[in-house]
């Protein structure tokens, strides 16, 4: 049983393992070799969340695992952002459980990366692409631990993986939308995050940038990461994601895109 795991012990183990693993292998997704991916399971049960004292979500139940990409779909105000934020621990759930490998997801903050909507980011902040990616080392380093050559290597690799080497000295507002998105993904990679929560990552990107991002999504899931993204372009869901969760304050459907994602379902969800 996952629930019998000692979360502290578990946490320490993955940390140490991630450390040596990332030295030797191209991708940073640790745990893939020792645990089977089945152990890397995210389980949400009976989740109920209120936002500013208004019920935003209830009856959310689903489970997915590493190596998949999951689209959160639903009309405006359906609770997609709320769900992402509660997964990230930024909103407290009224009730229900969010378990990652049998322990509360938020207790392993370095395994989880939340990427805000682009509109929520202060693009004028005095920080370069490299500075942003270096921030990703924080959950591993804490307040004072020295930034080592090991950290440096991980940051380098994250920059290279997102094709940002040439742009590393740029201030973040001097990037295109796609580059900005990649910079935040690079930070998640530097964090060695296993679960990426993305709020509308494709919004505002031009066609080529979207295609690049789709390709990167596939690479990230192939490396064993779990991607969960809210998404409003219904047509592109089958091209990008493996699984889909359709919500409108309540859960309407969940499952593999090819099985559950139908015109009928969309019509039901989006008609008020």
């Amino acid at each position: 049983m996952h629930a019998t795991h000692d979360p502290k012990h578990d946490h320490g183990q993955t940390h140490a393992h991630g450390h040596d693993h990332s030295h030797t292998h191209e991708h940073v997704c640790w745990g893939h070799s020792t645990h089977s991916p089945v152990h890397h399971r995210l389980e949400i049960s009976n989740l109920k969340v209120s936002y500013r004292e208004v019920l935003a979500l209830e009856g959310i139940n689903f489970a997915t695992e590493c190596g998949r990409s999951l689209a959160l779909v639903g009309p405006n105000g359906a609770g997609k952002s709320t769900l992402l934020k509660s997964l990230a621990g930024l909103l407290k759930a009224d009730s229900g459980r969010i378990l990652w490998r049998g322990s509360p997801l938020v207790s392993s903050s370095h395994e989880l990366a939340y990427l805000p909507q682009r509109g929520d980011v202060d693009w004028n902040f005095p920080i370069t692409v490299r500075g942003l990616v270096e921030m990703g080392r924080y959950p591993n380093l804490g307040w004072w631990k020295k930034y080592s050559t090991h950290d440096e290597e991980i940051v380098e690799r994250a920059l290279a993986a997102m094709d940002l080497k040439d742009l590393e000295k740029r201030q973040i507002s001097a990037l295109s939308g796609g580059q900005q998105q990649r910079a935040f993904i690079a930070r998640a990679l530097a964090q060695e995050a296993h679960v990426l929560l993305l709020d509308e990552p494709f919004t505002g990107l031009d066609r080529p940038a979207q295609e690049t991002l789709i390709r990167l999504f596939k690479e990230l899931t192939r490396e064993g990461r779990l991607l969960i993204a809210s998404h409003h372009d219904l047509k592109s869901v089958p091209d990008i994601f493996d699984e889909v969760l359709v919500i409108k304050r309540k859960q309407f459907a969940f499952g593999p895109v090819k099985d559950v994602f139908s015109e009928k379902l969309i019509e039901e969800t989006y008609s008020s």
Partner: protein
Amino acid sequence: MSTFADFISEAPAKRALLACAMIGFSNGFASAFVVLRKSALKVGTLSHGLLPGIALAVLFFGLSQWSALAGAVFAAMFIGLGSLFVARTSRLDQDTALGILYTAGFAAGYIVLTRLNIRQKLDEWLFGSIVGMADSDLWIAFGISVLAVLMLTAMQRPLLIFLFEPNVAASLGVPVRFLNYATFGIVILVLISSLQAVGCILSVGLLVAPAATVYLFSNSARALFLGGGIIGMLGSVAAFFLSYPLGWHISSTIVLVLGVIFALAYISSPRYGLFSKRRQAA
């Protein structure tokens, strides 16, 4: 007629020069936080709000350095937390509540201080009196400066994430609530240290202008802290040397010099100022 050499050889002048350097550095260092937090106006209301606290402390405990400090801390807490409380328990937002609380408090403080017949001192609290600093004042300023700079440096890593993404920093494991309180405390302490140098009306300038100047040139948030400290210190020391021959009020000269330095930066910044390409493109 005394020369500048005579003036500078006197103890009060030496103390004032030292105070300029110290308070200029610590306030400039902390100004990075104020600029990145975009809280200049809040700090302005807070600094005005210190006056009633000082007035009450003087009323009840007599005028001493420590009673004034305690009063200032109390007033800042009262106005800061009071505005939060009003915002939570009514339909008003915190800024509105702050606007009422600090002006009413300032008015009350002014009345109390004028009724107390310590007119001379009142001007010093309002506009500062750096030449009048005693050794004990200097020690307080020194202690606060060291504490503020050390704390801001020690918290640098989580602090930058907190400043960059206040709403999502918690997802990276940043102790957001702790940083909120700790930085609030630091800002109050630094304000108190500058109170004597530039007074509660001008102190905001010292707590905003230095880092705002660096902000127009640098893309490193860390540089804002150290750069702000250096500009704050150099500006204050320069103002000290300017004020004597010109016969200008030192505190006002400090804030004016920092304002002029900012204006020069604004005009000359290649990327983020008046004539930057970015602006022309927009």
